[in-house]
Amino acid sequence: MRSTAMSDEATAKRLAKIFGAFLVIGATSFGGGVIAHLRTHIVVRRGWTDDKTFIELLTISQTLPGLKAANLAMLLGDRLAGTAGAVAAIAGICLPGAALMYLVGVMYQVERQRPLVEAALTGVAPAAVGLILATTAKLGRASLSCIADLMFVALTVICVNRLHLSVPLALLGVGLLAILWHVFTGAPKGQPT
């Protein structure tokens, strides 16, 4: 962005490309699992970033308040083209859903539950479950490297789903434990100290 080598026109083109990519995700990711759509489009299809960076940014998005997918779009956009890229990405991903929810709000009185829509959504929900689960598995395969990591995954799930700890508390507790584990068991190979 700050590079003088890049002309204004090239910058505008790049921003339009980013906005367009996130707009498509924002318009097609029905039924939840936006993270899966983001990974497929941004990492796999366009190759704009790799799984490692994607997970890193996902971690930041999940650690902070806000809608996970919106935060992640913001961070991806920032990495791609700075502040303008961040704004283009978050605007793109939010616009379709926001427009739709505006219409739903305005038309609330005339809206009726339609059996066919209900039936479709009954099929969409488990599809979203499969989608998120598969994406979680793929991300796990790309980022988890030892048994301890798998245990921390399991521990997080137990804390949230079984012990019903709040997410921030689970994050703090398990996160701290995992960080200390990695501090004391030594850094991975090739790490600069």
């Binding site: 809608l67 926001a98 709000g105 609330y108 039936a119 991300l139 799930v157 994050l171 960080i179």
Partner: protein, 175 residues
Amino acid sequence: MMDDLVALGRVFAYLSLMTLGGGIAIYPELNKLVVDGHGWLTLPQLDYLYGVGQAAPGPNLMVVSVGALTAGLPGALSVLVAFVGPPALLALVVGRVWSKLQGRPWFVATQRGLTPVSIGLLLAGCLTFAKGALTGWTTVLIGAVVFFVVLRTNINPAAMVLAGAVAGILAFGLH
């Protein structure tokens, strides 16, 4: 009108920072403020809109419809900006600080430690969602098929969701 907009902005900026751990985390607080506190919506309205927001594409922006119901387009816009803006700004700042810290001795340990927790949170959210979504063998089958196809291929997820919708209509909508 102006009072409504200011109140909407204030309430949703506050709520936006309460969304730690996913949109559903604010539901009790949303209920308290929007239904009980300001009376902008009734509880059935809120439940319905939340469900629609979950099914709508992109992040769940059901809060926009609360703004629309209360104060039309200006209401929707002020809610959108108030709800998405503060966390996004925070994410931007933290993201930049984060990339500056790269290479510090404790940074790698922090990153490696938080990654499994991040994956775990994704899994936990998915399992919670699954409880409501997997209601019988048909839905389990849909979920399993999508899982294996997505795991094995790089198919556009939208195609799988569409397939789920068609399967849902065929299984539940035609009698």
